[in-house]
Subunit: 136 residues, 2 copies
């Protein structure tokens, strides 16, 4: 859309223990290990998307685990390289105001689950700032 | 993109017997039954996409077969309603000239396979006319 190269900038990446909320989201046991990754997608000097993903490590093939935790590889490319058959279940689509994701600019927020073998492989929340940056 | 409602217009729909080419494309026996569907996607009075799909009927769940052969339901929605886990393998991306799909206007043509359980569930060719109709 921008005709510029999009870069994936990893803002943070941790292994966390699933609390009650995360456990319910991913259908895993409380306390199990989850990779939490926050990235921003930018083109030129503009950030267009803020994305947060939660992936239960117990369900991840070993090579995928490495890719996921290593670097700035987009999720789509990781799934692609493993030839995984998946479906995406959209769970939420809403406008949120006064979030600090984009310094208080209202965002369109959507969440979905990437499902493989009927298990949640990844939960993703994407946020798109609602302002004139999309008038390309 | 157009901010108008997109309609799926079925141009033709047949059950055909797989010839050598189709059999190779779908990895089925020659002579097996295949659903061939040609649709156009329009918004306003403009056609934006011409799509041809080939689906081996032997691999189709019964209810899906009915949806596919019945009416103007987009493929994505059909897959969605069956909760199928799939992957898409892109096979071709090229510019074709002097095709009658859009009265000789050059088209961007892409083909891909929708794969489920490591079998081709559907082969799809989409053609996008290369002209000013995309300046929205």
């Amino acid at each position: 859309m921008t005709r510029k190269t999009v870069s994936v900038i990893t803002e943070s990446q941790y292994t966390v223990k699933a609390d009650k909320t995360i456990a319910a989201l991913l259908c895993v046991e409380e306390g199990s290990e989850v990779n939490e990754r926050v990235v921003r997608l930018s083109a030129g000097n503009t950030t267009f998307v803020h994305a947060r993903s939660l992936s239960p490590l117990e369900r991840m093939p070993e090579t995928m685990k490495e890719q996921l935790m290593r670097a700035d590889i987009p999720i789509g490319r990781i799934l692609r390289s493993h030839n995984l058959e998946t479906r995406r279940d959209m769970t939420e689509l809403e406008i949120l105001e006064r979030q600090n994701t984009f310094d208080g600019i209202p965002v369109l927020s959507r969440s979905y689950k990437i499902v493989h073998n009927n298990h949640v492989l990844m939960w993703i929340n994407e946020r798109f700032p609602i302002d004139e940056r999309w008038s390309l």
